[in-house]
Symmetry: C2
Subunit: 252 residues, 2 copies
């Protein structure tokens, strides 16, 4: 048996998430079905973390064990020939026996995209949509509130396990204006469920002048799961990269 | 009764084309269903021309008659609130009673996109995919063959009505290299069925050095419906704009 590490991109719009959440297919299930065909036995895979329904990934990472000896090119080709075309393996290579895609993750990068171009059908599956013009400098100013180590209880799902730690560090939160959309880049040691989408929508509300920097600061300080009622649509969210060492995390 | 002219964009991947061709929905049908709801009576629409299954449009034009008096903003909003989100009306406004979206069209622009980034799941629905690296200057050189007025019998469907004229003028055929894909821009007085996709794939084959400029010239000269056996995948094709006067056509 050898342990393999794989990087996968997916257009998540048609899926119920990494793990089955709704009546639709799960991405994990699609990949495990393919590995069953290639290996001839059940091959569970473990990801760096789950992504929700409709959420995309450019660099999701998972690991699994296989007795196949295949190089990156041939293993990738074999998997992609069997996978649906909206799930594409980028690389799959042998790693050390004790590598763990979730426990060894040092940090992650997520991007959130939102557009004012609400009549563009090509953005429908790939961005959040916003009618109002957004004040970018206000969004950039408010993003500062989230930098550093904080208890993010106010910016996560109500249903989260109360025993789980909710202190996370956000190293970078950039708001960049492109020609027809806004990109928010989140780099941190870890993200709670819905955390990126709740912060993204909070910044969008700030960009509409519906909420002030002080109110956002108060929300964060409250450490109250009912403090924030904003959550951006899932199709604007992308898991861009998982970092497995501090150096990559700090460069990211 | 007033005549209205509308511009519509659609992500055509999920559809069987402008008109019903397969077991899937037709874009025309979706729009007519919405106009039936708004007007309260059957409202047939007439487009500048059909697009095939999976083909996209950024600026398809159609006309229809209605006794509603609505301005662009409100009519667009009413239609978009009822349409599926992959079909978006850009504008709809009153026009002269004798305007005809098909007969009055002076010319059209189509783009074809093809990528080498075959492992990118986000391009799956929106570009042709090509494993081999393409020689852009060869493609640009071969594109010259098609410029001007020609009988395009060799570059259209076998099933085309033999009585229909097959002489068309291509004013512009540009091949542009972008960071991760190639864009081919076609501007002409009209395009036969499959013509853009057949020329696009012929240029892709030239880019792979599978066919020479002279062979392409011979194909065109043959005026034989069996001369060209190439046809690019539909999801890379976009109807960009329909021109209704010579000035716009020459600027396009």
């Amino acid at each position: 048996m050898m342990r393999y590490q794989a990087i996968v991109s997916y257009d998540g719009f048609a899926y119920g998430g990494w793990q089955k959440q709704t009546n639709t297919n799960a991405i994990q299930e699609e990949i495990e079905n393919v590995l069953l065909k290639i290996n001839g036995y059940d091959t569970p895979i473990i990801a760096s973390g789950r992504t929700d329904a409709k959420v995309h990934a450019k660099g999701q990472v998972f690991h699994f064990d296989s007795d196949r000896i295949l190089d990156d090119f041939h293993f990738t080709r074999a998997m992609n020939s069997l996978l649906p075309s909206d799930i594409r393996i980028q690389h799959v290579y042998q790693t050390s026996d004790d590598f763990h895609a979730r426990f060894d993750a040092f940090g992650k990068r997520y991007d959130y995209l939102v557009t004012n171009d609400i009549k563009n059908p090509f953005y429908e599956r790939y961005m959040g949509k916003e009618w109002k013009t957004l004040d970018i400098s206000m969004m950039q100013e408010c993003a500062q509130v989230f930098l550093g180590e904080h208890d993010f209880t106010s910016f996560t799902s109500n249903k989260i396990d109360p025993r789980k730690p909710r202190v996370k560090t956000i190293r970078k939160l950039e708001v960049i204006a492109h020609q027809d959309h806004i990109q928010m880049i989140f780099i941190g040691t870890g993200f709670l469920r819905y955390m990126v989408r709740m912060i993204a929508q909070t910044l969008i509300e700030a960009g509409k002048h519906r909420i002030t920097k002080q109110q956002i600061q108060d929300m964060l300080n409250a450490k109250d799961k009912h403090a924030c009622r904003y959550k951006a649509d899932p199709q604007g969210l992308y898991l861009i990269e998982v970092f497995y060492n501090e150096e990559d995390y700090l460069k990211g």
